[in-house]
Symmetry: C2
Subunit: 298 residues, 2 copies
Protein backbone atom coordinates (compact mmCIF):
# COMPACT_ATOMS: atom_id res chain seq x y z
CA UNK A 1 0.00 0.00 0.00
CA UNK A 2 1.84 3.01 -1.34
CA UNK A 3 1.82 6.08 0.87
CA UNK A 4 2.67 8.79 -1.63
CA UNK A 5 4.00 12.16 -0.57
CA UNK A 6 3.78 15.31 -2.68
CA UNK A 7 7.26 15.07 -4.17
CA UNK A 8 6.82 11.38 -5.13
CA UNK A 9 3.44 11.64 -6.81
CA UNK A 10 4.59 12.68 -10.29
CA UNK A 11 6.94 9.69 -10.53
CA UNK A 12 4.18 7.38 -9.26
CA UNK A 13 1.87 8.57 -12.05
CA UNK A 14 4.64 8.17 -14.63
CA UNK A 15 5.44 4.67 -13.32
CA UNK A 16 1.88 3.61 -14.16
CA UNK A 17 2.74 3.86 -17.86
CA UNK A 18 4.87 0.71 -17.89
CA UNK A 19 2.39 -0.93 -20.26
CA UNK A 20 2.04 2.07 -22.57
CA UNK A 21 2.51 0.89 -26.16
CA UNK A 22 3.12 4.27 -27.81
CA UNK A 23 6.62 5.67 -27.17
CA UNK A 24 5.86 9.23 -28.32
CA UNK A 25 2.62 9.40 -26.31
CA UNK A 26 4.50 8.14 -23.26
CA UNK A 27 7.23 10.74 -23.78
CA UNK A 28 4.71 13.58 -24.06
CA UNK A 29 2.65 12.41 -21.08
CA UNK A 30 5.77 11.93 -18.95
CA UNK A 31 6.85 15.51 -19.57
CA UNK A 32 3.30 16.78 -19.08
CA UNK A 33 2.93 15.04 -15.72
CA UNK A 34 6.35 16.20 -14.55
CA UNK A 35 5.72 19.85 -15.48
CA UNK A 36 2.13 19.91 -14.22
CA UNK A 37 3.18 18.53 -10.83
CA UNK A 38 6.18 20.88 -10.67
CA UNK A 39 3.86 23.81 -11.35
CA UNK A 40 1.41 22.79 -8.61
CA UNK A 41 4.22 22.20 -6.10
CA UNK A 42 6.01 25.44 -7.01
CA UNK A 43 2.97 27.65 -6.40
CA UNK A 44 1.65 25.43 -3.57
CA UNK A 45 -1.74 25.44 -5.27
CA UNK A 46 -4.58 25.47 -2.73
CA UNK A 47 -7.78 23.39 -2.98
CA UNK A 48 -9.79 26.56 -3.69
CA UNK A 49 -7.42 27.61 -6.46
CA UNK A 50 -7.55 24.09 -7.87
CA UNK A 51 -11.36 24.28 -7.96
CA UNK A 52 -11.15 27.66 -9.70
CA UNK A 53 -8.96 26.02 -12.34
CA UNK A 54 -11.40 23.10 -12.76
CA UNK A 55 -14.29 25.55 -13.18
CA UNK A 56 -12.28 27.65 -15.65
CA UNK A 57 -11.42 24.63 -17.81
CA UNK A 58 -15.02 23.41 -17.70
CA UNK A 59 -16.39 26.83 -18.70
CA UNK A 60 -13.80 27.02 -21.47
CA UNK A 61 -14.99 23.66 -22.82
CA UNK A 62 -18.64 24.67 -22.56
CA UNK A 63 -17.90 27.84 -24.59
CA UNK A 64 -16.70 25.78 -27.55
CA UNK A 65 -19.03 25.07 -30.45
CA UNK A 66 -18.75 24.84 -34.22
CA UNK A 67 -17.94 28.52 -34.50
CA UNK A 68 -16.11 29.24 -31.28
CA UNK A 69 -12.96 27.51 -30.06
CA UNK A 70 -12.18 28.87 -26.61
CA UNK A 71 -9.33 26.39 -25.99
CA UNK A 72 -7.53 27.57 -29.13
CA UNK A 73 -8.09 31.11 -27.87
CA UNK A 74 -6.60 30.12 -24.52
CA UNK A 75 -3.62 28.54 -26.23
CA UNK A 76 -3.25 31.61 -28.48
CA UNK A 77 -3.37 34.14 -25.65
CA UNK A 78 -0.87 32.21 -23.53
CA UNK A 79 1.55 32.15 -26.44
CA UNK A 80 1.37 28.35 -26.77
CA UNK A 81 0.02 28.33 -30.32
CA UNK A 82 2.75 30.65 -31.54
CA UNK A 83 5.31 28.57 -29.63
CA UNK A 84 4.22 25.45 -31.52
CA UNK A 85 4.49 27.37 -34.79
CA UNK A 86 7.93 28.72 -33.82
CA UNK A 87 9.16 25.23 -32.91
CA UNK A 88 8.00 23.93 -36.27
CA UNK A 89 9.83 26.80 -37.98
CA UNK A 90 12.95 26.16 -35.93
CA UNK A 91 12.92 22.58 -37.17
CA UNK A 92 12.92 23.99 -40.70
CA UNK A 93 15.85 26.23 -39.80
CA UNK A 94 17.68 23.27 -38.28
CA UNK A 95 17.16 21.42 -41.56
CA UNK A 96 18.78 24.25 -43.52
CA UNK A 97 22.19 22.64 -43.42
CA UNK A 98 20.83 19.61 -45.23
CA UNK A 99 18.31 21.54 -47.29
CA UNK A 100 19.76 24.93 -48.21
CA UNK A 101 17.10 25.23 -50.89
CA UNK A 102 14.43 26.09 -48.30
CA UNK A 103 16.09 29.32 -47.19
CA UNK A 104 13.84 32.35 -47.51
CA UNK A 105 10.55 30.55 -47.03
CA UNK A 106 7.62 32.71 -45.92
CA UNK A 107 7.24 32.68 -42.15
CA UNK A 108 4.23 30.99 -40.59
CA UNK A 109 2.03 32.26 -37.81
CA UNK A 110 -1.00 31.08 -35.85
CA UNK A 111 -4.10 29.75 -37.55
CA UNK A 112 -6.38 31.31 -34.96
CA UNK A 113 -9.91 30.17 -34.10
CA UNK A 114 -11.72 31.59 -37.14
CA UNK A 115 -10.87 29.19 -39.95
CA UNK A 116 -14.13 27.82 -41.36
CA UNK A 117 -13.50 24.97 -43.80
CA UNK A 118 -15.40 24.91 -47.06
CA UNK A 119 -15.23 28.56 -48.10
CA UNK A 120 -16.53 29.31 -51.61
CA UNK A 121 -14.10 28.56 -54.46
CA UNK A 122 -13.89 31.74 -56.51
CA UNK A 123 -12.19 32.93 -59.68
CA UNK A 124 -9.02 34.97 -59.34
CA UNK A 125 -9.87 38.64 -59.07
CA UNK A 126 -13.23 38.12 -57.34
CA UNK A 127 -14.33 40.58 -54.68
CA UNK A 128 -15.15 39.01 -51.28
CA UNK A 129 -15.32 42.41 -49.53
CA UNK A 130 -18.38 43.80 -51.31
CA UNK A 131 -21.27 44.40 -48.93
CA UNK A 132 -19.07 44.20 -45.83
CA UNK A 133 -17.96 47.06 -43.61
CA UNK A 134 -14.45 48.26 -44.47
CA UNK A 135 -12.38 49.98 -47.12
CA UNK A 136 -11.71 48.02 -50.32
CA UNK A 137 -8.28 46.50 -50.80
CA UNK A 138 -6.79 44.69 -53.77
CA UNK A 139 -4.45 41.83 -52.81
CA UNK A 140 -2.06 40.46 -55.36
CA UNK A 141 1.25 38.72 -55.69
CA UNK A 142 2.83 35.47 -56.62
CA UNK A 143 3.37 32.08 -55.05
CA UNK A 144 6.72 30.48 -55.79
CA UNK A 145 8.89 27.91 -54.11
CA UNK A 146 12.00 29.06 -52.28
CA UNK A 147 13.99 28.80 -55.52
CA UNK A 148 11.60 31.22 -57.21
CA UNK A 149 9.83 28.62 -59.33
CA UNK A 150 6.14 29.55 -59.74
CA UNK A 151 3.65 27.30 -57.95
CA UNK A 152 0.66 26.98 -60.27
CA UNK A 153 -2.70 25.74 -59.00
CA UNK A 154 -1.81 26.50 -55.39
CA UNK A 155 -4.96 26.53 -53.27
CA UNK A 156 -5.04 29.82 -51.36
CA UNK A 157 -7.55 30.14 -48.54
CA UNK A 158 -8.03 33.70 -47.28
CA UNK A 159 -10.15 34.91 -44.38
CA UNK A 160 -10.40 38.00 -42.22
CA UNK A 161 -12.67 40.08 -40.07
CA UNK A 162 -14.37 43.12 -41.60
CA UNK A 163 -13.30 46.75 -41.44
CA UNK A 164 -14.78 46.95 -37.96
CA UNK A 165 -12.99 43.84 -36.73
CA UNK A 166 -15.77 41.24 -36.80
CA UNK A 167 -15.57 37.83 -38.42
CA UNK A 168 -18.61 36.21 -40.01
CA UNK A 169 -18.48 33.51 -37.31
CA UNK A 170 -19.09 36.13 -34.66
CA UNK A 171 -22.26 37.49 -36.23
CA UNK A 172 -24.83 35.12 -34.74
CA UNK A 173 -25.94 31.57 -35.45
CA UNK A 174 -27.64 32.38 -38.76
CA UNK A 175 -24.88 34.44 -40.34
CA UNK A 176 -23.34 32.76 -43.37
CA UNK A 177 -19.77 32.90 -44.58
CA UNK A 178 -18.34 36.28 -45.45
CA UNK A 179 -14.88 37.65 -46.19
CA UNK A 180 -13.46 34.23 -46.87
CA UNK A 181 -12.80 32.32 -50.06
CA UNK A 182 -10.56 29.81 -51.75
CA UNK A 183 -8.59 30.80 -54.85
CA UNK A 184 -6.16 28.97 -57.10
CA UNK A 185 -3.00 30.54 -58.50
CA UNK A 186 -2.72 30.77 -62.29
CA UNK A 187 -0.14 28.93 -64.43
CA UNK A 188 2.49 31.49 -63.42
CA UNK A 189 1.77 31.32 -59.66
CA UNK A 190 -0.11 34.64 -59.55
CA UNK A 191 -3.03 35.38 -57.27
CA UNK A 192 -5.33 38.40 -56.99
CA UNK A 193 -8.55 39.18 -55.17
CA UNK A 194 -10.46 42.05 -53.63
CA UNK A 195 -11.44 42.20 -50.00
CA UNK A 196 -11.30 44.89 -47.32
CA UNK A 197 -8.36 46.27 -45.37
CA UNK A 198 -8.67 44.38 -42.09
CA UNK A 199 -9.03 46.35 -38.88
CA UNK A 200 -7.43 45.58 -35.54
CA UNK A 201 -9.93 43.83 -33.28
CA UNK A 202 -10.29 42.25 -29.86
CA UNK A 203 -10.23 38.46 -29.63
CA UNK A 204 -13.60 37.27 -28.26
CA UNK A 205 -13.47 38.60 -24.71
CA UNK A 206 -16.93 37.63 -23.45
CA UNK A 207 -15.88 34.16 -22.26
CA UNK A 208 -13.52 32.62 -19.69
CA UNK A 209 -10.41 33.61 -21.68
CA UNK A 210 -11.57 37.22 -21.83
CA UNK A 211 -11.95 37.21 -18.05
CA UNK A 212 -8.47 35.72 -17.72
CA UNK A 213 -6.97 38.45 -19.93
CA UNK A 214 -8.74 41.10 -17.88
CA UNK A 215 -7.36 39.67 -14.64
CA UNK A 216 -3.89 39.50 -16.22
CA UNK A 217 -4.19 43.23 -16.93
CA UNK A 218 -3.96 42.66 -20.70
CA UNK A 219 -5.81 44.14 -23.66
CA UNK A 220 -7.39 41.57 -26.02
CA UNK A 221 -6.47 43.26 -29.32
CA UNK A 222 -4.81 41.94 -32.42
CA UNK A 223 -3.37 44.15 -35.16
CA UNK A 224 -5.26 44.05 -38.47
CA UNK A 225 -4.35 41.06 -40.64
CA UNK A 226 -5.49 38.88 -43.53
CA UNK A 227 -5.29 35.14 -42.80
CA UNK A 228 -3.91 32.88 -45.51
CA UNK A 229 -3.45 29.16 -45.92
CA UNK A 230 -1.53 27.86 -48.95
CA UNK A 231 -1.59 24.26 -50.11
CA UNK A 232 0.02 22.83 -53.22
CA UNK A 233 1.13 19.30 -54.11
CA UNK A 234 4.86 18.86 -53.56
CA UNK A 235 5.05 21.69 -51.03
CA UNK A 236 4.64 22.10 -47.27
CA UNK A 237 1.36 23.67 -46.24
CA UNK A 238 1.78 27.26 -45.08
CA UNK A 239 -0.55 28.99 -42.60
CA UNK A 240 0.21 32.63 -42.07
CA UNK A 241 -1.08 36.24 -41.98
CA UNK A 242 -0.40 39.48 -43.81
CA UNK A 243 -0.30 42.23 -41.17
CA UNK A 244 -1.36 45.80 -41.98
CA UNK A 245 1.76 47.91 -41.40
CA UNK A 246 0.06 50.95 -39.86
CA UNK A 247 -2.27 48.97 -37.61
CA UNK A 248 -2.16 49.55 -33.85
CA UNK A 249 -1.09 46.63 -31.62
CA UNK A 250 1.66 45.33 -33.92
CA UNK A 251 3.86 45.55 -30.82
CA UNK A 252 1.43 43.85 -28.44
CA UNK A 253 -0.60 41.33 -30.46
CA UNK A 254 -2.80 39.49 -27.93
CA UNK A 255 -1.73 36.16 -29.46
CA UNK A 256 1.97 36.94 -30.06
CA UNK A 257 1.66 36.17 -33.77
CA UNK A 258 3.50 39.08 -35.42
CA UNK A 259 6.53 38.28 -37.61
CA UNK A 260 8.39 41.22 -39.11
CA UNK A 261 8.51 39.63 -42.53
CA UNK A 262 4.70 39.43 -42.64
CA UNK A 263 4.06 43.16 -42.24
CA UNK A 264 2.77 44.64 -45.46
CA UNK A 265 2.24 48.26 -46.51
CA UNK A 266 -1.32 48.81 -47.67
CA UNK A 267 -0.91 51.61 -50.20
CA UNK A 268 -3.81 54.04 -50.34
CA UNK A 269 -5.13 55.23 -53.72
CA UNK A 270 -7.55 57.96 -54.73
CA UNK A 271 -10.67 56.85 -56.65
CA UNK A 272 -9.82 55.79 -60.18
CA UNK A 273 -8.45 52.79 -62.05
CA UNK A 274 -7.20 49.86 -59.95
CA UNK A 275 -4.26 47.63 -61.03
CA UNK A 276 -6.68 45.05 -62.45
CA UNK A 277 -8.47 47.67 -64.56
CA UNK A 278 -11.46 48.00 -62.24
CA UNK A 279 -12.80 51.51 -61.95
CA UNK A 280 -13.16 52.55 -58.31
CA UNK A 281 -15.39 55.45 -57.28
CA UNK A 282 -13.97 55.57 -53.77
CA UNK A 283 -10.49 55.34 -52.26
CA UNK A 284 -8.95 51.87 -52.15
CA UNK A 285 -5.81 50.10 -50.99
CA UNK A 286 -3.39 47.74 -52.66
CA UNK A 287 -1.37 45.09 -50.83
CA UNK A 288 1.37 43.17 -52.61
CA UNK A 289 2.92 40.04 -51.16
CA UNK A 290 4.84 37.14 -52.68
CA UNK A 291 4.67 33.83 -50.84
CA UNK A 292 7.57 31.39 -50.90
CA UNK A 293 6.68 27.77 -50.15
CA UNK A 294 9.00 25.03 -48.90
CA UNK A 295 9.23 22.08 -51.31
CA UNK A 296 8.30 18.84 -49.54
CA UNK A 297 11.28 16.81 -48.41
CA UNK A 298 11.95 14.01 -50.87
Amino acid sequence: MAQLEAQDLAQAVIDRMTDCKEPRFKEVMTALIRHAHAFVREVQLTPDEWMTAIQFLTATGKMCDEKRQEFILLSDTLGISMLVVAIEQAKGAAALKDRPEIRGATEATVQGPFFWPGAPQLELGADIGEGNAGEPAYYHGRVTDTAGKPVADCVLDVWSGDGEGFYDMQKGPDAGMALRAQFRTDHDGNYRFWSIRPSYYPVPADGPVGKMLHRMGRHPNRPGHMHTMLQAPGHERLITHLFVSDSPYLDSDAVFGVRNSLIVDFEKHAPGKAPDGRSMNKPFYTATYDFKLVPSAA
Copy 2:
Protein backbone atom coordinates in the same frame (compact mmCIF):
# COMPACT_ATOMS: atom_id res chain seq x y z
CA MET B 1 7.64 45.05 -33.80
CA ALA B 2 8.75 42.19 -31.62
CA GLN B 3 10.08 39.14 -33.43
CA LEU B 4 9.69 36.46 -30.77
CA GLU B 5 11.62 33.21 -30.91
CA ALA B 6 10.55 30.02 -29.15
CA GLN B 7 12.78 30.48 -26.10
CA ASP B 8 11.62 34.10 -25.57
CA LEU B 9 7.90 33.58 -25.87
CA ALA B 10 7.17 32.57 -22.26
CA GLN B 11 8.85 35.70 -20.92
CA ALA B 12 6.98 37.84 -23.47
CA VAL B 13 3.66 36.45 -22.23
CA ILE B 14 4.68 36.99 -18.59
CA ASP B 15 5.78 40.56 -19.39
CA ARG B 16 2.25 41.37 -20.52
CA MET B 17 1.10 41.10 -16.90
CA THR B 18 2.69 44.40 -15.85
CA ASP B 19 -0.74 45.82 -15.11
CA CYS B 20 -2.05 42.77 -13.25
CA LYS B 21 -3.57 43.91 -9.94
CA GLU B 22 -3.63 40.52 -8.15
CA PRO B 23 -0.22 39.39 -6.88
CA ARG B 24 -1.22 35.77 -6.22
CA PHE B 25 -2.96 35.41 -9.59
CA LYS B 26 0.13 36.85 -11.26
CA GLU B 27 2.38 34.44 -9.36
CA VAL B 28 0.27 31.42 -10.36
CA MET B 29 -0.04 32.50 -14.00
CA THR B 30 3.68 33.24 -14.24
CA ALA B 31 4.54 29.72 -13.07
CA LEU B 32 1.84 28.21 -15.30
CA ILE B 33 3.13 30.00 -18.41
CA ARG B 34 6.73 29.10 -17.62
CA HIS B 35 5.95 25.39 -17.07
CA ALA B 36 3.53 25.12 -20.00
CA HIS B 37 6.07 26.62 -22.41
CA ALA B 38 8.88 24.49 -20.95
CA PHE B 39 6.76 21.39 -21.51
CA VAL B 40 5.98 22.29 -25.13
CA ARG B 41 9.63 23.11 -25.86
CA GLU B 42 10.92 20.00 -24.09
CA VAL B 43 8.80 17.59 -26.13
CA GLN B 44 8.96 19.78 -29.28
CA LEU B 45 5.20 19.49 -29.57
CA THR B 46 4.07 19.33 -33.19
CA PRO B 47 1.07 21.18 -34.67
CA ASP B 48 -0.80 17.87 -35.03
CA GLU B 49 -0.13 16.92 -31.41
CA TRP B 50 -1.21 20.39 -30.33
CA MET B 51 -4.48 19.95 -32.22
CA THR B 52 -4.97 16.56 -30.55
CA ALA B 53 -4.58 18.30 -27.19
CA ILE B 54 -7.07 21.04 -28.13
CA GLN B 55 -9.60 18.40 -29.20
CA PHE B 56 -8.99 16.39 -26.02
CA LEU B 57 -9.58 19.41 -23.78
CA THR B 58 -12.68 20.39 -25.74
CA ALA B 59 -14.14 16.88 -25.53
CA THR B 60 -13.34 16.81 -21.81
CA GLY B 61 -15.27 20.05 -21.32
CA LYS B 62 -18.19 18.78 -23.41
CA MET B 63 -18.37 15.65 -21.23
CA CYS B 64 -19.02 17.72 -18.10
CA ASP B 65 -22.53 18.21 -16.82
CA GLU B 66 -24.26 18.36 -13.46
CA LYS B 67 -23.44 14.73 -12.75
CA ARG B 68 -20.17 14.23 -14.57
CA GLN B 69 -16.99 16.21 -14.01
CA GLU B 70 -14.45 14.98 -16.54
CA PHE B 71 -11.86 17.65 -15.66
CA ILE B 72 -11.85 16.52 -12.02
CA LEU B 73 -11.44 12.99 -13.33
CA LEU B 74 -8.52 14.15 -15.47
CA SER B 75 -6.95 15.89 -12.48
CA ASP B 76 -7.57 12.80 -10.32
CA THR B 77 -6.05 10.32 -12.76
CA LEU B 78 -2.96 12.48 -13.35
CA GLY B 79 -2.38 12.63 -9.59
CA ILE B 80 -2.97 16.40 -9.47
CA SER B 81 -5.94 16.25 -7.11
CA MET B 82 -4.07 14.10 -4.62
CA LEU B 83 -1.05 16.39 -4.99
CA VAL B 84 -3.16 19.39 -3.98
CA VAL B 85 -4.48 17.41 -0.98
CA ALA B 86 -0.93 16.33 -0.05
CA ILE B 87 0.35 19.93 -0.26
CA GLU B 88 -2.46 21.06 2.01
CA GLN B 89 -1.57 18.28 4.46
CA ALA B 90 2.11 19.18 4.28
CA LYS B 91 1.19 22.71 5.30
CA GLY B 92 -0.53 21.21 8.33
CA ALA B 93 2.61 19.19 9.07
CA ALA B 94 4.74 22.31 8.70
CA ALA B 95 2.50 24.01 11.23
CA LEU B 96 3.08 21.20 13.76
CA LYS B 97 5.97 23.00 15.39
CA ASP B 98 3.67 25.89 16.24
CA ARG B 99 0.57 23.75 16.72
CA PRO B 100 1.60 20.44 18.32
CA GLU B 101 -2.05 19.92 19.26
CA ILE B 102 -2.96 18.98 15.67
CA ARG B 103 -0.73 15.90 15.60
CA GLY B 104 -2.62 12.71 14.79
CA ALA B 105 -5.32 14.31 12.65
CA THR B 106 -7.12 11.99 10.24
CA GLU B 107 -5.51 12.10 6.81
CA ALA B 108 -7.39 13.63 3.90
CA THR B 109 -7.77 12.27 0.39
CA VAL B 110 -9.43 13.30 -2.85
CA GLN B 111 -13.07 14.38 -3.01
CA GLY B 112 -13.58 12.73 -6.37
CA PRO B 113 -16.23 13.66 -8.94
CA PHE B 114 -19.25 12.05 -7.25
CA PHE B 115 -20.11 14.42 -4.42
CA TRP B 116 -23.72 15.55 -4.92
CA PRO B 117 -24.65 18.38 -2.54
CA GLY B 118 -27.94 18.23 -0.69
CA ALA B 119 -28.08 14.57 0.32
CA PRO B 120 -30.94 13.63 2.68
CA GLN B 121 -30.37 14.47 6.34
CA LEU B 122 -31.02 11.28 8.27
CA GLU B 123 -31.11 10.12 11.86
CA LEU B 124 -28.08 8.30 13.22
CA GLY B 125 -28.41 4.59 12.60
CA ALA B 126 -30.43 4.94 9.40
CA ASP B 127 -29.84 2.46 6.58
CA ILE B 128 -28.91 4.04 3.23
CA GLY B 129 -27.93 0.72 1.70
CA GLU B 130 -31.35 -0.92 1.66
CA GLY B 131 -32.56 -1.66 -1.84
CA ASN B 132 -29.12 -1.24 -3.40
CA ALA B 133 -26.82 -3.96 -4.69
CA GLY B 134 -24.21 -4.94 -2.13
CA GLU B 135 -23.64 -6.60 1.22
CA PRO B 136 -24.85 -4.67 4.29
CA ALA B 137 -22.27 -2.94 6.44
CA TYR B 138 -22.63 -1.11 9.73
CA TYR B 139 -20.34 1.94 10.06
CA HIS B 140 -19.70 3.39 13.46
CA GLY B 141 -17.16 5.34 15.45
CA ARG B 142 -16.50 8.65 17.00
CA VAL B 143 -15.49 12.10 15.88
CA THR B 144 -13.10 13.91 18.21
CA ASP B 145 -10.56 16.65 17.86
CA THR B 146 -6.88 15.75 17.89
CA ALA B 147 -6.85 16.05 21.71
CA GLY B 148 -9.60 13.44 21.97
CA LYS B 149 -12.39 15.86 22.82
CA PRO B 150 -15.69 14.69 21.29
CA VAL B 151 -17.06 16.81 18.44
CA ALA B 152 -20.84 16.90 18.89
CA ASP B 153 -23.14 17.95 16.05
CA CYS B 154 -20.48 17.31 13.44
CA VAL B 155 -22.08 17.13 10.00
CA LEU B 156 -20.95 13.89 8.37
CA ASP B 157 -21.62 13.48 4.65
CA VAL B 158 -21.14 9.93 3.37
CA TRP B 159 -21.40 8.67 -0.20
CA SER B 160 -20.29 5.60 -2.12
CA GLY B 161 -20.97 3.43 -5.10
CA ASP B 162 -22.99 0.27 -4.65
CA GLY B 163 -21.76 -3.29 -4.16
CA GLU B 164 -21.22 -3.50 -7.90
CA GLY B 165 -19.27 -0.27 -8.08
CA PHE B 166 -21.87 2.14 -9.50
CA TYR B 167 -22.76 5.54 -8.05
CA ASP B 168 -26.30 6.91 -8.27
CA MET B 169 -24.99 9.68 -10.55
CA GLN B 170 -23.96 7.07 -13.10
CA LYS B 171 -27.38 5.47 -13.35
CA GLY B 172 -28.97 7.68 -15.98
CA PRO B 173 -30.53 11.12 -16.01
CA ASP B 174 -33.63 10.14 -14.03
CA ALA B 175 -31.95 8.24 -11.20
CA GLY B 176 -32.32 9.95 -7.85
CA MET B 177 -29.88 10.00 -4.97
CA ALA B 178 -28.86 6.69 -3.45
CA LEU B 179 -26.17 5.55 -1.04
CA ARG B 180 -25.54 9.05 0.22
CA ALA B 181 -26.74 10.93 3.29
CA GLN B 182 -25.86 13.54 5.85
CA PHE B 183 -25.69 12.59 9.53
CA ARG B 184 -24.91 14.52 12.70
CA THR B 185 -22.81 13.14 15.53
CA ASP B 186 -24.49 12.85 18.92
CA HIS B 187 -23.49 14.78 22.05
CA ASP B 188 -20.55 12.43 22.57
CA GLY B 189 -19.26 12.63 18.98
CA ASN B 190 -20.58 9.22 17.99
CA TYR B 191 -21.87 8.35 14.54
CA ARG B 192 -23.47 5.19 13.14
CA PHE B 193 -25.24 4.24 9.95
CA TRP B 194 -25.89 1.30 7.69
CA SER B 195 -24.87 1.16 4.07
CA ILE B 196 -23.18 -1.44 1.88
CA ARG B 197 -19.59 -2.60 1.73
CA PRO B 198 -18.29 -0.63 -1.27
CA SER B 199 -16.81 -2.53 -4.17
CA TYR B 200 -13.78 -1.57 -6.23
CA TYR B 201 -14.89 0.04 -9.46
CA PRO B 202 -13.56 1.68 -12.61
CA VAL B 203 -13.67 5.45 -12.81
CA PRO B 204 -15.91 6.45 -15.73
CA ALA B 205 -13.91 5.20 -18.69
CA ASP B 206 -16.27 5.97 -21.58
CA GLY B 207 -15.01 9.53 -22.08
CA PRO B 208 -11.79 11.28 -23.10
CA VAL B 209 -10.07 10.46 -19.79
CA GLY B 210 -10.90 6.78 -20.20
CA LYS B 211 -9.28 6.85 -23.63
CA MET B 212 -6.23 8.57 -22.15
CA LEU B 213 -5.91 5.91 -19.45
CA HIS B 214 -6.18 3.19 -22.08
CA ARG B 215 -3.42 4.76 -24.17
CA MET B 216 -1.29 5.15 -21.04
CA GLY B 217 -1.63 1.39 -20.52
CA ARG B 218 -3.41 1.89 -17.19
CA HIS B 219 -6.40 0.25 -15.57
CA PRO B 220 -9.15 2.63 -14.42
CA ASN B 221 -9.94 0.95 -11.10
CA ARG B 222 -10.22 2.31 -7.61
CA PRO B 223 -10.22 0.12 -4.47
CA GLY B 224 -13.56 0.01 -2.61
CA HIS B 225 -14.08 3.01 -0.34
CA MET B 226 -16.68 5.04 1.54
CA HIS B 227 -16.40 8.79 0.95
CA THR B 228 -16.77 11.06 3.96
CA MET B 229 -16.84 14.81 4.50
CA LEU B 230 -16.85 16.14 8.06
CA GLN B 231 -17.74 19.70 8.98
CA ALA B 232 -18.07 21.17 12.47
CA PRO B 233 -17.78 24.74 13.73
CA GLY B 234 -14.35 25.43 15.19
CA HIS B 235 -12.70 22.66 13.14
CA GLU B 236 -11.10 22.34 9.73
CA ARG B 237 -13.27 20.59 7.16
CA LEU B 238 -12.06 17.06 6.44
CA ILE B 239 -12.67 15.25 3.14
CA THR B 240 -11.48 11.68 3.12
CA HIS B 241 -12.30 8.00 2.43
CA LEU B 242 -12.45 4.76 4.38
CA PHE B 243 -10.80 2.10 2.22
CA VAL B 244 -11.87 -1.56 2.41
CA SER B 245 -8.77 -3.45 3.55
CA ASP B 246 -9.21 -6.55 1.39
CA SER B 247 -10.19 -4.70 -1.75
CA PRO B 248 -8.13 -5.14 -4.91
CA TYR B 249 -6.28 -2.12 -6.32
CA LEU B 250 -5.21 -0.68 -2.96
CA ASP B 251 -1.72 -0.66 -4.48
CA SER B 252 -2.70 0.92 -7.77
CA ASP B 253 -5.62 3.24 -7.11
CA ALA B 254 -6.36 4.98 -10.44
CA VAL B 255 -6.47 8.34 -8.63
CA PHE B 256 -3.54 7.80 -6.20
CA GLY B 257 -5.78 8.45 -3.19
CA VAL B 258 -4.83 5.64 -0.79
CA ARG B 259 -3.40 6.60 2.60
CA ASN B 260 -2.37 3.74 4.89
CA SER B 261 -4.15 5.24 7.87
CA LEU B 262 -7.46 5.20 6.01
CA ILE B 263 -7.55 1.44 5.38
CA VAL B 264 -10.22 -0.22 7.50
CA ASP B 265 -10.95 -3.88 8.17
CA PHE B 266 -14.54 -4.71 7.34
CA GLU B 267 -15.29 -7.53 9.78
CA LYS B 268 -17.68 -10.16 8.41
CA HIS B 269 -20.45 -11.51 10.66
CA ALA B 270 -22.86 -14.42 10.34
CA PRO B 271 -26.59 -13.59 10.35
CA GLY B 272 -27.72 -12.53 13.83
CA LYS B 273 -27.73 -9.52 16.08
CA ALA B 274 -25.80 -6.42 14.87
CA PRO B 275 -24.02 -4.04 17.29
CA ASP B 276 -26.99 -1.65 17.22
CA GLY B 277 -29.41 -4.45 18.14
CA ARG B 278 -30.73 -4.88 14.60
CA SER B 279 -31.51 -8.48 13.75
CA MET B 280 -29.86 -9.47 10.48
CA ASN B 281 -31.05 -12.49 8.49
CA LYS B 282 -28.03 -12.44 6.20
CA PRO B 283 -24.28 -11.96 6.65
CA PHE B 284 -23.16 -8.40 7.30
CA TYR B 285 -20.00 -6.38 7.91
CA THR B 286 -18.93 -3.91 10.56
CA ALA B 287 -16.48 -1.07 10.02
CA THR B 288 -15.18 0.99 12.90
CA TYR B 289 -13.32 4.23 12.42
CA ASP B 290 -12.65 7.21 14.66
CA PHE B 291 -12.08 10.56 12.96
CA LYS B 292 -9.79 13.19 14.47
CA LEU B 293 -10.42 16.76 13.31
CA VAL B 294 -7.99 19.66 13.40
CA PRO B 295 -9.23 22.57 15.54
CA SER B 296 -9.36 25.77 13.49
CA ALA B 297 -6.36 28.02 14.01
CA ALA B 298 -7.22 30.79 16.45
